[in-house]
């Protein structure tokens, strides 16, 4: 028969070891207690003797491999006559079952150690009792509920918070598993603020042309026709801004990059995230190849992602890979704000409400304006680069002629080529 | 020595008047040991002492006022009233504390010596302890470590023949303390603990050895306490009156006086003068201590932790 040679347990905390050398080779005769191999661990090098007498068979784990304690390293063929394996050798042959996990018996605790049935103990002393938890008592008092009238629902007939809430027809305590999400979000944002050196550039932009474009596109027949199959989709100012941001990034390759592994990684296409508020918190799904999209495709895509976000169905893929994010608080009474760059990205464009504000162009006028605040990872770009990007966006917003609803017939995709730099 | 003697007598007086909290262990009869050893130490050398520590504290340089006030549990005491008689502390003179438990002082002194050695300083540490400590594990561990690591410490055993009420010869078969030094291969020297000049000389040698980096020494100072183990314990149930009387005849102060006058080193008048001065100091200390206030309850949680 064969006796297994295993990686021995050589110390309290040893979990794995390496055979640093075999002192015998396959076919050699081995005597009991003769040195067979050398093991090294993080602490020691030790010689290991053979536990049996016989012929060394195939070496399964050659020198140099690190294996867990108990792994079979080789077999020794024990000869029939003078080398019969002893009873204990046979028992020890084979691997140790995983670590020191011993299946525990389900032995009931001795009676003296069982915790009392509270009711029994109390009733012996104080007569029949209604057990009410302190928390339930407090809540009942706060809500003005008579505990005596409340039914206990649990098997122990103790009245708990749940019973009081039920009696008061209150909903169950709100689940705060968004507690986890909050924590994760907090960690991401903290990490961002701690590790990304940022600065911001801002500008107030005359939005009248943008508004005009939006209005005209919304009214256009071609739009209505092409959206007949996606009735829920509407073209929004946000879509226009997404397109503006993406095009500006495409034209400023320096800014279409992120900082990773201690260097700048440039990109060719532009991936932009859009901040979406859901009732479980803020998420920012990413739209790919935005610079190449026409507004129709963009609006459909944006709409789909926002829907997914609101239903809590965004996947990891949906959330990764953006170079920058657009965060629009324009639906609130926010003039301007500064946002936090997402870890892994290099910019975030924060946009406030479009409002009529004083505007000076030789004389004082009133115009609908929009305040852009662009926050940038300083490791990727400096002030000038950011300013240029901002400038391009301003240009596109103030003169948005290039933004097309549909791809021009000749090109078949994106209005990219129609730009004038 | 006079200071210590008068101090202790005054302390007993105050204690017996019922004004002093706790219980005290007076040093009367053993003054020569504290004085002889401490005379050889610098201010920055360390001393760790025992429950019978007033003598060591005064000899090392803590003022009589400070010690007396501490005995009263008053704010003006060297430990702010928090330690009392058995827990006198003063870092400014290297006094690492008297101790309610005796053997730890051995370890504390050795530890201070270790610190000095690591810091490259030539400070020396002294541990005072009684015959009662030499059968304790800490004695063995402390002397062994000090010897093995060659620490600058002097171990001074005040063998007054009794540990509380247990006679030394009933506590151990080997009644020679000095001989135990051989177990650690350090010098073990017997000293006449009632002759301040002998103490001074032998302590001086031991201190210099340590300071030179030659390691520890064990001094066995043969002496005797006149009173009981602690105030209120007469000390006569386990000792004969004859034995006490014979040791009183070997009063260290009397012997010094005799020697001094025989060699004309000092005159009777000078001794008179010293006596008066000391009385004044002790009276002043007593008044100060009795009048000194107890610490306010608002400080009860100060110093549980450091900052």
């Amino acid at each position: 028969m064969s006796i297994a040679v295993v990686m021995p347990q050589l110390g309290l905390t040893m979990e794995e070891g390496t055979v640093s050398a075999w002192l015998k080779k396959t076919g050699d005769t081995v005597k009991k207690n003769e040195l067979l191999f050398i093991v090294s661990t993080d602490k020691v090098e030790m010689d290991v003797e053979s536990v049996a007498e016989g012929i060394l068979g195939e070496i399964i784990e050659p020198a140099g491999r690190t294996v867990p304690v108990g792994t079979i390293l080789a077999y020794i063929q024990v000869s029939g006559e003078n080398g019969v394996a002893s009873g204990s050798e046979r028992h020890m042959s084979g691997t140790l079952t995983g670590g020191s996990a011993v299946r525990e018996d389900r032995v009931p605790l001795p009676a003296t150690l069982k915790s009392h049935d509270h009711r029994e103990a109390l009733e012996k002393v104080a007569g029949p009792q209604r057990l009410v938890s302190p928390r339930a008592k407090r809540l009942a008092k706060e809500l003005g509920i008579d505990v005596a009238a409340v039914q206990a629902s649990g098997p122990d007939r103790q009245i708990t918070e749940e019973d009081i809430r039920h009696a008061a027809e209150l909903p169950k305590r709100p689940s705060r598993s968004d507690g986890v999400r909050h924590q994760l979000m907090a960690e991401r944002l903290t990490r961002s603020v701690q590790t990304i050196p940022t600065f911001s550039v801002a500008a107030e932009v005359n939005a009248e042309n943008l508004i005009a474009l939006h209005k005209s596109l919304r009214a256009s027949e071609s739009l209505k026709a092409s959206l007949s199959t996606s009735p829920k989709v509407q073209l929004t100012i946000t879509d226009l801004l997404l397109s503006v941001f993406a095009r500006a990034l495409k034209r400023n390759p320096e800014m279409n990059a992120t900082w990773e592994d201690d260097r700048v990684h440039s990109r060719t296409s532009v991936e932009v995230g859009l901040a979406v508020a859901t009732d479980k918190g803020l998420v920012a799904p990413v739209i790919r190849n935005v610079e190449a999209m026409d507004l129709r495709a963009l609006a459909i895509r944006r709409s789909a992602l926002v829907e997914k976000a609101r239903l809590g169905r965004l996947s990891l893929v949906d959330l990764e890979g953006g170079v920058g994010t657009l965060s629009n608080l324009g639906m609130y009474r926010v003039d301007h704000f500064q946002a936090i760059v997402s870890p892994g990205q290099s910019s975030i464009l924060a946009v406030g409400q479009i409002r009529e504000r004083p505007w000076v162009e030789k004389t004082l006028m009133v115009k609908p304006t929009l305040i852009l605040n662009l926050t940038v990872d300083h490791r990727v770009a400096d002030g000038a680069a950011a300013a240029v990007l901002l400038g391009k966006m301003i240009e596109l917003i103030e003169a948005p002629d290039d933004l097309r609803w549909e791809p021009s017939p000749s090109t078949g995709n994106g209005a990219d080529r129609r730009s004038n730099g | 020595m006079v200071v210590i003697r008068e101090f202790e007598l005054k302390a007993r007086e105050i204690f017996r008047s019922g004004r002093m909290p706790g219980f005290i262990h007076v040093y009367v009869g053993q003054e020569a040991v504290a004085v002889g050893v401490c005379a050889q130490l610098r201010t920055d050398d360390y001393v760790a002492s025992t429950h019978r520590g007033h003598g060591h504290a005064l000899a090392k340089g803590i003022s009589a006022r400070s010690v007396m006030a501490e005995l009263m549990g008053a704010v003006g005491g060297c430990s702010g009233g928090r330690g009392g008689t058995m827990h006198l502390y003063d870092p400014s003179v290297g006094f690492l504390g008297s101790n309610g438990v005796v053997p730890p002082g051995i370890l504390i002194a050795a530890g201070a010596a270790l610190s000095a050695k690591l810091r490259g300083s030539d400070q020396v540490a002294v541990a005072f302890f009684g015959d009662g400590a030499v059968n304790n594990g800490a004695f063995h561990e402390g002397l062994n470590l000090a010897a093995t690591w060659n620490l600058p410490v002097v171990f001074v055993c005040e063998n007054n023949l009794y540990a509380t009420e247990m006679p030394f010869d009933e506590a151990t078969k080997n009644t020679s303390v000095a001989s135990r030094a051989a177990a650690y291969k350090i010098p073990g020297i017997v000293v006449d603990g009632n002759d301040v000049l002998d103490v001074c000389a032998k302590a001086g040698e031991a201190v210099e050895r340590a300071r030179r980096g030659e390691g520890p020494t064990l001094l066995e100072c043969l002496t005797y306490r006149w009173f009981g183990h602690h105030e209120g314990e007469p000390g006569t149930s386990y000792r004969t009156k004859e034995e006490i009387a014979s040791w009183k005849e070997r009063d260290p102060m009397l012997r010094l006086r005799e020697k001094a006058m025989a060699t004309s080193w000092a005159s009777a008048a000078e001794f008179e003068e010293i006596g008066c001065e000391v009385n004044r100091v002790i009276e002043d200390a007593a008044v100060y201590a009795i009048k000194s206030a107890q610490p306010s309850v608002s400080t009860a949680f100060d110093h549980v932790f450091s900052n």
């Binding site: 309290l12 905390t13 979990e15 993080d42 602490k43 011993v102 525990e104 605790l109 150690l113 915790s115 509270h118 938890s133 302190p134 928390r135 649990g154 098997p155 708990t160 689940s175 705060r176 598993s177 507690g179 986890v180 960690e187 903290t190 990490r191 701690q194 590790t195 | 360390y46 430990s79 928090r82 330690g83 827990h87 502390y89 870092p91 690492l96 504390g97 309610g100 438990v101 730890p104 370890l107 504390i108 002194a109 050795a110 530890g111 201070a112 010596a113 610190s115 690591l118 810091r119 540490a125 800490a138 561990e141 402390g142 062994n144 470590l145 690591w149 110093h303 549980v304 932790f305 450091s306």
Partner: protein, 345 residues
């Protein structure tokens, strides 16, 4: 402390910017090494901590770097080495006394409690006692009755001692560094079974303040406070309980003195149920102290009796079948917590 940051300012376990996996033992060594480089007053003594690098490799490489004066092996004399450590601390040094197996802390316990914990107070603040008593507690692979103990409740009992109980490599490094900058006596309790576990530890310097618990896993239905190795078991139990619809909040106090009770009480106010898992015995243990605190300060938040899952009251048996039964297991935690939440006795 130029350059050092507290955890609130710095990276946390989850957000370590340069993520590096090292073992619990290595994290401890790093902490000691960095601090010994910073402060010449720190020295290290204990059995086998010199050239051998410590029984658990907890001092590996230190002797080679700092030499035999500052990193010194001691004979078997825990009382002696602790007493000397205390004396050295009084004279201005900052020693680490490595007792190795927490069980052996019973030898010098008199020195720790009578001397180390009191001297700062009874000397009226004149002496400080910056000594660290370091040891590994807990059982692993049937270490048996003299090598498995988890003595920390009596240190928590005595005023004047600080006690740390790190469960992760990140915590070991941060807490041990803080310990070596603290002027108070600190009992630093590690766990044998944790030495080879790996965790994220930043290379850059950070300290973890004492008295700051960590919520290892947020939850809704029950607060589970776990100590040392039990944190791992609690986390495994929590994962299994989640599948049964029970959401468990696991809290690791990290230090016993100072003790962060606020985090625990806030959690109890949220969940209404408190469970404590401790490898030590229940009677007069830390679990009893936490239960007492909750009962006196959060009584009206409790919706169910407080449950303590501790070592059963028998000496540590050697045989694995007994050892595994007596010490809290993941199975036992799952069963008992589920019963508590479902209100079945």
């Amino acid at each position: 402390m130029p350059g050092a940051k507290t955890e609130s300012q710095c990276v946390t376990e989850q957000t370590a910017a340069k993520e590096r996996l090292i073992t619990y033992a290595e994290a401890g060594v790093e902490a000691v090494r960095e601090e010994m480089r910073r402060a010449p007053s720190i020295f290290y003594m204990g059995q086998g901590i010199g050239p051998r690098g410590g029984n658990f490799q907890q001092s590996r490489g230190l002797w080679a770097e700092f030499g035999g004066e500052r990193v010194r092996d001691t004979p078997i004399a825990e009382r002696g080495e602790t007493g000397l450590g205390i004396g050295a601390a009084l004279a201005g040094s900052h020693p680490i006394v490595d007792i190795v197996f927490l069980d052996f802390v019973l030898e010098p316990i008199a020195e720790i409690i009578q001397q180390a914990s009191t001297i700062h107070y009874i000397s009226n603040g004149q002496f400080k006692v910056p000594v660290v008593i370091r040891a590994a507690g807990g059982g692993i692979r049937s270490t048996g009755p003299h090598h498995s103990h988890t003595f920390y409740s009596f240190f928590m009992h005595i005023p004047g001692l600080k006690v740390a109980l790190p469960a992760t490599p990140f915590d070991v490094k941060g807490l041990l560094k803080s310990t070596l900058r603290d002027d108070n006596p600190v009992i630093f309790v590690e766990h044998k079974a944790l030495y080879t576990t790996k965790g994220h530890v930043p290379e850059e310097e950070y300290l973890i303040p004492f008295g700051q618990a960590v919520i290892r896993r947020p939850g809704e239905h029950v607060t589970l406070v776990a100590l040392s190795l039990m944190v791992q078991k609690a986390m495994q139990a929590a994962t299994r309980l989640e599948k049964e619809g029970i959401s468990v909040e696991v809290i690791d106090p990290r230090t016993l003195v100072p003790f962060d009770k606020d985090t625990i009480l806030a959690s109890v106010a949220k969940t209404g149920r408190l469970v404590i898992v401790d490898e030590a015995y229940a009677s007069c243990g830390v679990s009893a102290e936490i239960a007492a605190i909750a009962a006196s300060e959060a009584l009206y938040e409790l919706d169910a009796p407080i449950l303590r899952i501790c070592a059963l009251p028998a000496p540590h048996a050697f045989s694995p079948s007994l050892d595994n039964y007596l010490v809290p297991s993941v199975d036992r935690i799952v069963t008992e917590v589920a019963a508590l939440v479902r209100r079945k006795s």
